[in-house]
Symmetry: C2
Subunit: 173 residues, 2 copies
């Protein structure tokens, strides 16, 4: 289960988790290491998933603990928080590559795609409307239907429903 993370793009960060925590000015704790590990293994994991999997590694982590850790790591720039549309918060490692996300409207599964324009897309603030605005990030979400949901006629969950119950989420890399 705990296998080496699939190396997709330029993702193999050679720095050990502990080092990453320290250089981010954070203390090294078991929950944090575990959460980092879990997120590395399950990209786009939601809090519930992180909680479960973390508990499998480090016994007894509280719900609050996971929330705190995720917030701390996100604030420190080690994680990136996603929340496509109306769904729950999801987390992935912040690797500095500028990738975007394709999200299935039906099953909410997420896959990464490298930035289409090479550089951060459209960090072009020259629009008169946005005068004075300092943009530091462009977030791109491609909405569509994944192959599975198209085949199995997953209908049109027009994604106006907020939360989907399934703890047993389909997780893709």
């Amino acid at each position: 289960m705990v296998e080496t993370r699939e190396v997709g793009r330029a993702e193999r960060v050679p720095v050990a988790p502990e080092q990453r925590l320290r250089s981010a000015g954070l203390r090294v704790t078991a929950p944090r290491l575990a959460v980092l590990d879990v997120v590395a293994e399950y990209p786009h994991a939601d809090v519930a998933t992180v909680l479960e999997r973390t508990r499998e590694r480090a016994h007894d982590v509280s719900v609050q603990g996971v929330y705190d850790v995720l917030t701390a790591l996100t604030r420190a720039g080690l994680l990136r928080r996603l929340q496509p549309g109306h769904s729950v918060a999801r987390y992935e490692l912040e690797t500095g590559d500028n990738h975007h996300h394709v999200v299935c409207r039906s099953c909410q599964s997420i896959i990464d795609v490298p930035c289409t324009t090479g550089q951060p897309p459209c960090l072009d603030t020259s629009h008169p409307e946005a005068a004075g605005f300092v943009v530091d990030e462009a977030e791109v979400i491609f909405w569509g239907m994944c192959p599975d949901c198209r085949e199995h006629g997953a209908g049109d969950h027009t994604s106006l429903q907020t939360t989907q119950k399934s703890t047993e989420k389909k997780e893709q890399v």
Copy 2:
């Protein structure tokens, strides 16, 4: 207060609200007309705002009623629902123009910008990762800081906080 909407881009839709409802296969009701009117006047309005302003027009609309109307109109393609980051749901008229949004990390204000690439950006599904995925929409959010927040040193509400209390939101076009 209730002044004519500033006409930015190609937004002046000449079709009467009633017609738009009917041609979308929806019944024409006072709450729906009122909600359409409110969203036209307050782009990016959240549910609370829509509720308040709608009540000023059509007396006695229930919270649930507004939610239902918003959902129905969104599903019918008359409205577009936004939820940048971790914030509450917001709505704007679906005009078919392909514009995107610049969002202030601090005050959450939203402004529209025309699509940077002319055509729907990057509807390019040729990535091997997204094989089989049928993408129908690309949502782009530019994150940054608005002029106001930069000046008044609104600090760094790293936008990890979910809800902001203010019913009195700063609304921009």
